[in-house]
Symmetry: C2
Subunit: 427 residues, 2 copies
């Protein structure tokens, strides 16, 4: 099996996540990719960060020049961020014949043209799945899965901090300040949160998405950007009353008059699927002329989700650079038996058709109880003494076999007039 030599530069949140995946899952990745990823160097000028990962002496590196000049390194994973050192590192990597994987949205949004031109000149590649939407495979989906589509619009929630704040304001009726404070407490917002809540981070990301989706590149300066600091509880309440939720959307559209691109707090109808994207989750909703509407939803930040995207880029590069690797490993279709349904645990919804008279619930709950099944909710809305009415019971987690045994006995009770309706609940 061929080997692809990788160096991580920058051991912060994402870098340490990448390090852990490459270390803990080396053999899994080799099996799935048909290429072995060897971590040759893990570089950070902060000794504390190097020590935190317990790096072996053979891979710990302080000075990034050592990495960029090492001829055995095939690929540099740039996770420093920003447009200074990171940019120089990437340009030098190309010159020295190395491919690059990055999560650097600011650099690509502001200097994308220059960076990709440099890659092309050196016949190198730069992959950047992690730059937008963390663990969500939006870049790959746009470039590969949707290859035959003209994308006409993108509506996206691509800042988890802002979405978390708006969600707390909407669901928990907090005001902006309370919600921001909670976000900071939970680690979703920085001490200075302006980058996120003013929409600048979203603007970076929608600039990249617009380039990839439309093949057209709007200057970051031209992206209209309105943050969420002026949204107050009253807006959220009024929107709710008329059937809307407020979300910070990053929007890009191809229209007859040109490309529309902007970041703005937006009212969305509650039945729009984006309205259900809550908390720190991200989602990208797009329209392709072939596929129609599509949504990709997931964790937009955080160490391991973002690292997962970085690692998928490393593997993609490795597979192509090591040309003898198989395209994709064959699914094994190795037979295995499924767990029997009776051994499954679930919550249940039960609709009993019962004679409306005292004592019925007690008989039913006693038979459920004998099978170790406990009840979470009971509902009987209709009252018709002596007649058949529906009695709804929701259970806590129970084994299917116990439930079936209980229902078998319950359905024999005199007070039960029809076979009981049994459905499972997923949380």
């Amino acid at each position: 099996m061929k080997t692809f030599n990788v160096a991580i530069v920058g051991l912060g949140t994402v870098g340490s996540g990448v390090y852990k995946i490459l270390k803990q899952k080396a053999s899994l990745l080799a099996h799935r990719a048909g290429v072995r990823i060897r971590l040759v160097a893990a570089c950070d000028n902060d000794a504390k960060k190097r020590r935190a990962l317990n790096l072996s002496r053979s891979i710990a590196v302080r000075d990034l020049r050592q990495v960029v000049n090492d001829p055995k390194i095939d690929c540099i994973v740039e996770l420093i961020g920003g447009k200074g050192i990171a940019k120089k590192l990437i340009l030098d990597a190309f010159k020295n014949g190395k491919d690059v994987v990055t999560a650097n949205k600011a650099l690509l949004a502001e200097c994308g043209k220059e960076v990709f031109a440099a890659a092309k000149r050196s016949d190198r590649q730069i992959y950047f799945e992690a730059s937008v939407g963390g663990g969500i495979p939006v870049i790959k989906s746009l470039r590969e899965s949707l290859v035959s589509n003209d994308i006409s619009s993108i509506l996206s929630i691509i800042n988890g901090t802002a979405n978390y704040i708006l969600t707390r304001m909407s669901i928990d009726k907090m005001d902006f300040k309370q919600a921001l404070k909670l976000a900071q407490h939970k680690g979703y917002a920085e001490a200075d949160p302006s980058f996120d809540i003013e929409g600048i981070d979203s603007a970076h990301k929608i600039t990249i998405l617009s380039e990839i989706a439309f093949g057209k590149s709007v200057s970051l300066k031209e992206v209209y950007c309105q943050g969420i600091t002026h949204i107050d509880e009253a807006d959220i309440e009024f929107a709710d009353e008329v059937g809307y939720v407020i979300k910070l959307l990053a929007i890009a559209k191809q229209t007859k008059g040109g490309i529309e691109i902007r970041v703005q707090p937006t009212l969305l109808p509650k039945d729009h699927i984006l309205a259900s994207v809550n908390g720190s989750f991200n989602a990208i909703y797009l329209h392709g002329d072939e596929t129609g509407d599509m949504l990709l939803y997931g964790r937009g930040a955080g160490s391991r989700p973002t690292a997962s995207a970085v690692v998928s880029d490393i593997i993609d590069l490795a597979k192509v650079r090591c040309a003898n690797a198989p395209l994709l490993p064959y699914p094994a279709f190795a037979p295995i038996s499924a767990k029997k349904l009776v051994d499954i645990e679930s919550r249940y919804y039960l609709r009993f058709s019962v004679i409306d008279k005292p004592g019925v619930l007690s008989q039913i709950s006693s038979l459920l109880g004998k099978q170790g099944i406990s009840i979470s909710d009971v509902m009987q809305r209709e009252r018709k003494a002596g007649r058949v009415v529906p009695l709804i019971v929701l259970t806590h987690e129970a084994y299917e076999k116990n439930l079936r045994a209980a229902i078998k006995q319950i359905d024999r009770l005199k007070c039960i007039k029809k076979r009981t309706q049994v459905l499972r609940i997923e949380e």
Copy 2:
């Protein structure tokens, strides 16, 4: 530029969609892929289907043996379906050195082991994105984007017919028969709908997803399968009252006791993102140990969405088989100007802070009207004569520049006591 020679076999719904994309978007695809896809043959034994596409004589083929024996064909796109002729075609294609792209879920679910073993023996590949979830890139995401993840669970809505019926029952209060009839009328359900509504189609698809996600293959016979024919309006109403919706879910989980795999109508809490998947849409909700929760949502069937997935597979194969092709084309970052915000059309939410007295709404609507802006909703809930109260106005589509001009004038009115809050609405 290298050329990859493709034959489509089966010119039904999906096959004709693939034909149209390859024909209409040949140069776009070549530009994006760095390889030229040449359609060498379009084969169907039904002359009507061949004629419907107006095929040129050079590519119209009646007999599939002609295709499978043609040495210049690199890849056969099998869109016949089923386990008879389709299976023989695929096995013969491998023997003759051809790769295969297919949407054949029944074949992969029931004979996957045999088919992939044959591919491996001949060192050929079979790609099958379109077999699950139509245009949704779930197979590629699982195999490539989530390469570093252990997937622990999949909850999926992967039958559009069943989801359409349940949606109509839930939102429009139809009974099962009415909803089925409507689905048939709209072309979402077959004359004999049992394959979809009994959950068999979902069972095929979850078998494939389980193999790809877990690397473990449960026999189709072991997949517990409960359809939706026994769901009645009462269940949907009661579920609604306690905060749930009912969806036909295909579920696969890795648990300590083994793999759970089943298709069942399921109660889902209304705030679960899958609960918002309505109509004929499909969605796959999964949990990876690195990425956390993720959802992929889109059109699960239909000619062009499914064809979009088939074409992405063709391109992926072509790129790797023609090894000199670039990895991925470089984003151009060719500068373009964004449309000016003032030229954008949108619906607007306006919150005016007005003195509560007669005539205020008339003043405001008159100034909006002068700019050609019409009102869709007005709401004033608080009443405090002579005091400041919020007045909410939703507009129809209007140009930003007109809106700004109107607001500028409105904010100068004596009855307006604070700057007007302006938010945009997306539908």
